[in-house]
């Protein structure tokens, strides 16, 4: 008699077999057989307007005076962390634009549940996202170099490797990448990227789509200069939905290909402007899909940021600013600056919380432009009264003894 468990095991074996076959077939297609659809590499971008030139419409940006030196795109290396709904589309756009190198990070596999988003296809289900993405992207544009890493960046060993690749994964091995793009879907991974980039002084852009799929944002982070991800509680685009009508029962996250595509588009647009030097690079750009509202702002680094490398980078930035010869200001940029000190005390309505808890838990709300708010507030450290409860008592026991004691319980 076969039990359910045995059958489950058999199904898993067969699934793995299938994935291996798919991978083998993909490799064979790469090796030959399918060469009709694969163009050879192009050494130099041409502006010639012919049907066979994949770069003609991009090089036209020069003739139209939008971009001064489009070919420069081939000298840049960009790391994309998170190759999901936003990251995969971001990588595709950069690939089609002819970026020099892409370094992709993701620990996840393609699933059929991802098919409401763009880029991945049902036959790729079961493959790692980075592997599947590299395969598709390489066939779209063989001029781009790819480097992929299939792991979770927030664990100790992987994080060390991640930092190493950010600081050495440039187009010329050994140089840092030019830009890191955060396309992850969780706070932990964003904080890990933030920690790494603050330590390395690496410029990066953060992107995000809300769990209810109707708002998103992009943000440029220049360590020491603009607010880092830890400088303030997470910023969110107010969706103007009554919290009481928002049903969360039984689901963790919703997603739409539209919102994700829009955010990826906004992100890559900002990347191109930043790398190729045209237009105005946004510091923070929000997207409220319910009202079609795009709030923008700029936010300075917080001198009291919890991240000590952020504070170190701020000192460094101040030193450099002081050393720099004063330049004539050509155009005064009028942007709302968000200051953290001396803020009014905003009280947020959170259900299931008592009055006292609310009082103790809410902190100053940064002064933000219309349409942008914080996910939550944190009370001022000095004013915080230690909640009821005592701190751990000091003992003579060593860590090993404590571990053994816990194990015996």
């Amino acid at each position: 008699m076969t039990t359910v468990e045995e059958l489950k095991l058999r199904v898993r074996e067969l699934e793995n077999e299938l994935i291996k076959c798919k991978q083998k077939r993909c490799a064979e297609e790469d090796a030959g057989g399918n060469q009709m659809h694969h163009r050879p590499r192009i050494e130099k971008m041409s502006a010639e307007v012919v049907d066979s030139n994949p770069y003609s419409r991009l090089m036209a940006l020069k003739r139209m005076g939008i971009v001064e030196d489009y070919e420069k795109i081939r000298t840049f290396s960009v790391a994309v962390v998170g190759v999901g709904g936003v990251g995969s589309v971001t990588a595709e756009m950069l690939t089609r634009c002819g970026i020099g190198k892409l370094v992709l990070f993701d620990y996840d596999k393609v699933e059929l549940a991802n098919m409401n988003r763009l880029f991945f296809q049902p036959h790729q289900a079961g493959l790692s996202k980075v592997e599947a993405a590299e395969h598709t992207l390489r066939s779209i544009n063989p001029d781009v170099s790819f480097e992929t890493h299939n792991y979770n960046i927030t664990t100790m060993d992987n994080f060390t490797h991640f930092m190493d690749r950010i600081s050495h994964g440039g187009l010329q091995e050994g140089n840092p990448v030019d830009l890191v793009l955060s396309c992850v879907d969780n706070f932990e991974a964003r904080m890990a990227i933030n920690t790494g980039c603050n330590e390395l002084g690496q410029i990066w852009m953060e992107s995000g789509v809300s769990e209810n799929a109707v708002s998103g944002h992009i943000q440029l982070i220049i360590p020491g200069e603009t607010a880092c991800f830890a400088c303030a509680p997470p910023l969110v685009v107010a969706a103007n939905i009554d919290e009481k009508t928002l049903k969360r029962e039984g689901v963790c996250a919703a997603s739409l290909p539209t919102t994700m595509g829009v955010v990826a588009g906004l992100l890559v647009q900002n990347v191109l402007k930043y790398l190729l030097g045209f237009g105005t690079v946004s510091h923070y750009l929000g997207y409220n899909a319910m009202q079609d509202f795009f709030p923008t702002m700029a936010m300075k680094a917080n001198p009291q940021c919890d991240d000590r490398y952020c504070r170190k980078q701020q000192d460094e930035y101040k030193r450099k600013e002081a050393e720099r010869p004063k330049q004539e200001v050509v155009v005064e940029k009028v942007e709302e600056q968000v200051v953290h000190e001396d803020n009014e005390w905003g009280i947020e309505l959170v259900s299931e919380v008592t009055e006292e808890e609310l009082k103790a838990a809410s902190g100053p709300k940064p002064d933000l432009p219309e349409g942008i708010t914080v996910a939550y507030t944190i009370p001022d450290k000095e004013k915080t009264v230690t909640p009821a409860g005592e701190t751990v008592e000091e003992t003579e026991q060593s860590l090993e003894e404590l571990m053994a004691q816990m194990k015996k319980m």
Binding site: D108, E111, N152, T154, T155, M156, F159, N186, F187, E188, M191, A192, N194, T195, A230, P233, R248, G250, V251, C252, D306, V350, E352, V353, T354, E357, A361, G363, A375, Y376, I378, P379, T386, P387, A388, G389, E390, T391, V392, E393, T395, Q397, S398, L399, L402, M403, Q405, M406, K407, M409
Partner: protein, 168 residues
């Protein structure tokens, strides 16, 4: 935040003092000692209150944790393996607790069986950095999750009591 019982249990967990993560060398050992002290106290409290419901242990670096949790429903004990990694940004970000065997059985889970915590957990954790530790994560994160999800999964027939399952 939570019900009276949880509230009381949390208030009796000792708070931690050392703001240190796994990338710090000596300070992390100090933080780990505090983590163990708080966890031991919490398990002792649970035993006294006749509500013993989990065990945890870690690798020697304290970066990877694993153990068991159990939930009593209709006088039957349902036991699950739990595991999580300490993120490099700990304690600024809480670890993501996973119950791999329940992966795919409930929508309140992320890939890999990571439990999906309520909207209240993250702000609560952020406001209590670095005072909250793994014991608080158990009490405010995993505990309430089990209390909501397990009875629901049993009612839907998605999990069976292990002895009953073996008999059938």
């Amino acid at each position: 935040m939570a019900d009276e019982v949880t509230r009381k249990a949390v208030s009796e967990i000792p708070l931690l003092k050392t703001n240190s993560g796994p990338r710090d060398k000596e300070l992390w050992v100090q933080r780990l000692r505090e983590e163990y002290l708080a966890l031991i106290k919490y398990v002792e409290n649970n035993k006294t209150a006749d509500n013993d419901w989990f065990r945890l242990e870690s690798n020697k670096e304290g970066t990877r944790w694993f153990g068991k949790c159990w939930y009593i429903h209709d006088l039957l004990k349902y036991e699950f393996d739990i595991e999580f990694d300490i993120p490099v940004t700990y304690p600024a970000t809480a670890p993501e607790v996973a119950i791999p065997e329940l992966d795919g059985k409930t929508a309140k889970m992320y890939r890999g069986g990571k439990i999906c915590l309520t909207d209240h957990f993250k702000p609560l954790w952020a406001r209590n950095v670095p005072k909250f530790g793994l014991a608080h994560l158990m009490a405010l994160g995993l505990g309430p999750w089990l209390a909501v999800e397990i009875p629901d999964l049993i009612a839907k027939g998605l999990i069976q009591h292990k002895e009953q399952q073996n008999n059938s």
